[in-house]
């Protein structure tokens, strides 16, 4: 599995960035470049960590920067990190805002879709 592989898709209301493998400090720069290049801060963003096996503090910082970018752009951001998964644990211990977290992709997509 290629670590930190990133796929960005356009969805109603913004984008979904689907990450893969281990997201740690060895790959965060490449992941961030890819997401920033393919999305705009004024559109909604869902970061799907459903396939991520590990998230370290550098990965949490990356998510923090993405949240700031899109909230400042006036758009909604959601992080999909299923309960019981390793990324969810990392986000929790780092004190990530619970309102930004979703358990599954559909609820996150609904949250950014235009009403």
């Amino acid at each position: 599995m290629t670590e930190g592989q990133t796929a960005v898709l356009a969805v109603p209301g913004g984008y979904v960035a689907r990450l893969d493998g281990d997201v740690d400090r060895a790959v965060v720069d490449a992941v961030e470049d890819e997401i920033v290049r393919r999305t705009t801060p004024t559109a909604g963003l869902v970061v799907d960590l459903g396939a991520v096996s590990f998230l370290d503090s550098a990965g949490v910082s990356l998510l923090d920067r993405l949240v700031r970018r899109h909230e400042q752009g006036g758009a909604a951001v959601l992080i999909v990190a299923p309960e019981g998964g390793s990324p969810r644990f990392s986000l929790r211990v780092c004190g990530f805002r619970p309102d930004l977290l979703a358990n599954a992709l559909p609820e996150a997509l609904a949250a950014i879709a235009p009403r």
């Binding site: 740690d24 060895a26 590990f54 370290d56 019981g84 390793s86 644990f89 211990v93």
Partner: protein, 870 residues
Amino acid sequence: MTAEPARGASGPLEESAEELYENAPCGYLSTDPDGVIVKINRTLLDWLGYDRADLVGRRTYQSLLSVGGRIYYETHYGPLLRMQGEVREIALELLRRDGSRIPALVNSVARADAAGAIAGIRTMVFEASSRRTYERELLAAQRFAERSAQRLSVLHGLVSDFAAALTPEDVGEVLVRGVRQAVRAVGGAVWLLADDDATLVRVNHAGAAHHPLLLRAPLDADLPHAAAVRGNELIQLASVEAARRRFPGFAEILADIGRDRALFVPLAVGERAIGVVGLSFDDTGEVDDDDLPMLRTLGHQAGQALERAQLHAEAVVRRRQAEFFAALSRHLDEAPGLRQRADRLVARLVPEIARWARVEVLVDRRLTRLASASLPVADEASAASAASAASAASAASAASAEDAPDASAGAVPGQHVATALATGAPQVATTDVDGTGPAVEVALPLRASGRVTGVLVMGLDGSRDVRGRLGFLGELAESAGLALENGRLYDQERENAHTLQRGLLAGEPLHDPRVAVTTFYRAAGDGLEVGGDWYDAFPIGPHKVALVVGDVVGRGIRAASAMGQLRSAIRALAATGLNPAALLERLDRFVDRFDVGRVSTVVYGELDLTSGHLRFACAGHLPPLVLEPDGDRRFLWGGRSGALAAHAGIRSRAEDAVRLRPGSRLLLYTDGLVERRDAGLEEQMTRLAREAGRRRRAPLTAMLPDLVDALVEADQYDDVCLLCVRFGVEPRFERELPADVAQLKSLRDDFRSWLSAMPLTADERDALLLVCSEATANAIEHGYRACDDGVVSVRAEVVDRVLELTVRDRGSWRRPNPETDRGRGLELIRSLMDRVSIEPGDCATGLGDGATEPGTVVTMRRRLTWKAAA
């Protein structure tokens, strides 16, 4: 004097003196001392056309002379006569009555009286018309002979100069210099027919006009030099007026540079002109009709010299080109793949041929740049001008100016490239974007099997004739296109074989905490063809795994396919519950029956996950290596027999068994790992044991590539295939890894595997993984800020349900700063662990001499809940 003397009264031989005087074949004239005519004979009167009465007593002798003669009479003739009494053979001109002149030679004698004074003068006149004509002819002939001799010597001089001329330019130079001098022309120029036989190009000139029409003109142009070549005729324009009538355009140029006349001499080989020398004159020049044949001859001589020089130059150029092409194709052939060949091509072209070059090929109908190279911009000034030119242009051309300029600012960038692709014909565009002077960019289509597959773009010096070199450049593109196509085919074939091989090697991962398997495959350095090396690991029942590494003789698709068949056969035989020796015997029969993979070598082992028992058999294969957690290492030399179905090999198969301790690593490998050109097998196996032993604590997945790097040369001629098994769970987790964050994942994988043997909750497992990763990352990032070859040690152990994790670096000790990442990472660690201590790593170096190493030791403890289910 009153009457004419009678004639013929006596016989012809008895003429009277008077008769003789009057009708003598010369003129007689008597004057008084002042020159007044007193007597004159009939002969002279007839010559002059006067009657006697017109002259006698009325006219002086002097008055019958031309002006020049009269002056001569006053200054020389008269005084000499008075002093010497006579003058002889004076050449004078007498005036006839009608004003015309009679050239004459005269003798005069003064007649003295008794007192010695001049009493009269007697003059005899000889008519000298014919003599003067002759003399004039004589003089002219002499002058002609002199000019001829001069022309001949010019001609000889030029001909020997021609003989020494090696290149057409040399001939041109000789012509311009020599002919201009010979005929005192002010300007001279030589044009030659270009290779296309339709263009005249000026190769040499001196004192000639600088007009674009004169630099290069089509052969059918309405210009005198073109006309001279077309008709192989000498063209003389005797005046600007004459020029205006025939070549109005040229007349203006001639007048502009203040010349009166011009002459164009074709340089001919046989009946065909291959060039022309042009001469222009002001009024000091001297060329007359007599010179024309000489010039014509010179034109022939020059034509021959040119042809010879051209042949010579062509031979030299051909030889150089042939040498260049041979060297180029040798150079390209050394690299097998498309991209490597493209890189080599541009590196070869710059600067030898071009200022910049790039290769672009069509991939899915889009041009993709494969390689580019360019000369560095000469100095800062030109760099600045190039930069400003680029910034003034569009963003697109600014981007391209970084490596090579695309096209002239005026033209549509890349238009010539697009045209070359569309038409398949070379295209030329002028440019000076790189700030080093005028240049042309040539886009040459690259072909393969009749299709245009890409384009070779080269920036050439603009001051040289590019169109004349298109033939050579076309050949260059031809051979480059061929080499690149072969490179592409090679890539494709290799990709196919590798895809097949990858498909055959891919196996489902083992999900069992009691064992971890990692594999590594590296193709031979030349990458030419896939080899027949393979590895395999698969479960046999719930508590056993089979481990295989083998090597099929040969390379390429056939070897890959044989490898696939052996691999499947082993899996099928293993499922029947045979022990390793029996399995190899069956495999021999399989090879014999289907004749695939004969003399392949293979090592087959079965590892019991509950006990660590390994039963194995080696068919001609190198012995497996066991690495114990405490550092012991040994090759497994037992269970050996010959290669598969080898006629000379030992057919009775042997097997052996060993017991692996938890945490041991077992390494299976192919001979590519230990065969080296510069070292013996035994020596290399010793090295393998040493290098592998040093890495026994490396994170498992990172271990194999690192080991191959340490043992195998980059240009290794054989494939390398490795399989490493970590058996069981070591009681104490110990890893050492280089200070590289890319190794963190491998460390976590091992740690996760180690933790998986313990009855932990998901949160505990996640917490310990996160802590291990963060603490190690801190050590990497902060312990080795100044150097990057450091090693980080990670240790974990459970004592009385307390997990103690220690991360040690040997970087310079720094007191933790809560404001930095390390501080924040530490906060996270502290929130997840019960106790955290950070100390300077004054630990023993292990050298036993009491020395200590600097560094930081972070020790973290957490009490585990220890699920009851365990």
